[in-house]
Symmetry: D2
Subunit: 291 residues, 4 copies
């Protein structure tokens, strides 16, 4: 299939690479040229502007946030110049308010919009083992299924309204942040009685909490090792904000979400914004004077 | 081995049953006689008072809380009449303040005190598959190891200070409560966008959160089915209180713990104290007017 | 002085009325014409569009929020057509992000921008007894001082950066919301021991808390009388949001603010958005099953 | 009247002094003898043990907390040796659980128990200007009214159940803590936009919040001056705990109370337990990296 691919950050490069490996013709665009050259060396073609990527059957986008997606997809005029009948497979984590706007704009442009955000970090993207939640027009989803299969280990279909995939992704990231905070508080509690976080988390993440989220972040909290950042704390603050604002629009209070936001803000204020967001799990130790 | 066993609630019966099956001579005591007769029919002998159970090499206790443990072990005079050199294997979930007092009292009575609280609900106790965290004098722990093996699938040793096992159990229950609240909030969020809790939790508990804690409680939250109560919400409130008071004694704030306490109190005030504590995971839906 | 006045809600009418009484020539504009006619009957002249109001030495605006201010002042083109050297005395409660944008836009348009938000409800505005916090270019503030004197009992100068007045207003409203929540929680606590909120609040608001904020809102909470709404709960939610977003921009966590937001959202979800925001002070009684 | 007076801390000395000045015969007891000698030099007589003080028509107690009251009144045997028909005017801030126990013990001892906790710090006690909330048997209250008049500027009667006065005092201290936290958060917010806490609080405490609680604590927060401690932060933590435990007994969640507890614990963990409890109002500045 002829695919445009926009956004070659850590995640995007792994995903685009797997599309190339699967035999697709991939036309890539990225703001910085270095990543473009990397992908070209793997077999991609370079697009000179975002609109070129939209001159394809399917365009995949994996940009950082609302602002960059707005700039590259809408403000650049790329969407307006999309090929008739194109499908936009939007895989970034975006706010519900902005996705609602995107849906409207794509409808006007005659382009099918699919939300397909992913769970998994860079290494998982490279391995083609992402979990992908997808929602959009069924025929369009059927058409991009081979692409989803190339990038992920499992596709989780959520119906035709793209917002549904979007909100599940936001809820999932909220759950991750909660797990991190939970392990941080539990660790501070046991440490005050002489039990090291590593000892606590070894037990719990091999029994009741034997799940990837707890094992991965638990290991970082056990060692209080928050660098290098696979996902920066400031991005975690952004994502918790997506949950809170999505909740606010529907009058859904999220008291854990509020605590997370406050603790992440405090972390940024204390100079930890550049750390991995698992550093949230180190705040309780600091607050209690134990680190 | 000749074992005294005190406390035949749902958990205690399963645990004592496995000791009998393993070939030990078990002398049981319980406040209500019905449970005693059940165990007698399985091969136990009935003790006429708690002190009789303390006339054994090892006495296992599995009582409901601080108050019942105080009444049965201390106020009844049972500990004072313990056989010299006896070992008390205390498996209930108790406050750190009370365990500190128990340690002191046992030292005076010349009885070894071991804390060995368990993770697992009634069915797991019956199956002999509990996860047991244990801390106490090493020689004593070595001696009771066959008993722990009969009751649990894994023993997690935590050193010689009994408080260490105690605080890990308290931290574990706090983590469970956090997981329940987290799923409740995430469910309320996605439901407000039309995604049913069951659809959200199906995805998350089969991927990032594929762990027993999330699967078990997630299923109950997905169905909003909180009866019958395997572990009552009022007991959950008590256990979160154990975490908060343990934290307070060491100046460790637990902001998630505070939210949990407030939400559990609200649930009790709204008449939900008799439900399973997973009903905590239904509060967010109610608060947001969706249930 | 020749004054344009934009925004004739409950507050605006009282304020414009006092300018007329003070002998100024007031040209009013409002989206709905009824309020315009009221003011004309008091001696104002009617402007046919917002831009007309900007053809004055000083234009006063008192609109509901960011969105209406953006629509009327910016999007209508009014600011772009302002008289050279005009002063815009902006008295609404606006977000810091939007005020920052307004400052920039006014600088480009060659119009002095003064922030002068007010403390006081409708009756206080009518009586000309508002407390006004003001910040902006000193010469411009000096020039509008007679107008501030006509509308308020006291002007509190805060320097030349308009954002300073803005943030003080936001902080003040946050403090009011905190006082309401505080009285609500205290009332729920004492009522559970048989002490009516009215008895508690009678004592406290005549001693340690003998201040207008506590007396006014305390009376409403004592009677659990939240209608008619002098300031709607949904507006309170908006204002607490202004504090939270202002804090977020500077990495300042506001844990009380987070609780306020969650409780206000819950109130809206429970159908109380149309009540006076003092209804926030009734939530604790409801949550604890006492109302 | 012949009065026993137990507890000569900063508050007690001022209160006992005013009873002496009013012409009463005051028999004082205190753990440390220095304060006893001070009062003797003002005209008091020294009691050699607590029980001596209970050999009077009225015994006033003003001890630090539950523990010291239990030790001095109950465990010492003083109450058991009280004169028949005596009245105990208990003015300390005690937990509702302990007051319930005291009521029962006094009934058995044939001693009337009156709760009469006070609002006001040391200087107010010396000046005889305390606000006193009182509840107990009416005839007994009538009899001690001259004593209350000597110690306070106003007596606020709350009926015959002593717990009613007790819970109002607890609620009042909770409201003070909330006011301190509120000013602290508001100050951190405005400071991040360049407005000093002193400038914010000058405006608010002279307008909407022109009340003693806000003026007194506001001045300390404005200057970030938290020494010397008129009321230590650790005592504030104790008092917030009294509110939370009183609420818990009746299923009343207090979300602001939970935040206060967490922030006070954090302050103690950070080494601020010895400061005045207004130091709670400095936490937000520290958390946001501004102090």
């Amino acid at each position: 299939m002829r695919i445009g691919f926009i956004g070659l950050g850590g995640m995007g490069k792994g995903m685009a690479g797997n599309l190339i490996k699967a035999g697709h013709e991939v036309l890539v665009w990225n703001r910085s040229q270095q990543a473009v050259q990397e992908m070209v060396s793997q077999g991609a073609k370079a697009a000179s502007e975002p609109a070129d990527a939209f001159d394809a059957e399917v365009v995949v986008s994996m940009l950082a946030d609302d602002a960059s997606t707005r700039a590259v997809i809408l403000d650049s005029g790329a969407l307006d110049r999309a090929r008739a009948g194109a499908i936009h497979l939007s895989m970034a984590t975006l706010s519900v308010a902005f996705v609602a706007e995107l849906i409207e704009r794509h409808a006007k442009a005659g382009v099918d919009y699919i939300s397909a955000p992913v769970f998994g970090r860079t290494d998982v993207a490279v391995a083609g083992k992402l979990n992908i939640v997808v929602a959009g027009p069924q025929a369009a989803v059927d058409k991009v299924q081979p692409l989803l299969d190339a990038m992920g280990q499992t596709t989780w279909p959520l119906g035709e309204d793209p917002l549904r995939a979007n909100i599940v992704k936001i809820a999932g990231n909220f759950m991750l942040a909660s797990a991190i905070e939970t392990m941080g508080e539990a660790s501070a509690l046991t440490k005050s009685y002489g039990v090291e976080p590593a000892d606590l988390l070894n037990i719990l993440t091999n029994t009741l909490f034997a799940a990837p989220a707890y094992k991965n972040y638990g290991a970082m909290i056990a060692e209080q090792r928050f660098e290098p950042a696979a996902f920066k704390l400031t991005l975690g603050l952004k994502d918790v904000g997506l949950a809170l604002s999505a909740g606010q629009a529907k009058n859904v209070p999220l008291p854990f979400g509020s605590v997370l936001r406050d603790n992440l803000l405090e972390a940024v204020a204390q100079g930890e914004g550049h750390l991995d967001w698992s550093a949230l799990g180190g705040r309780a130790l600091k607050r209690s004077g134990q680190a």
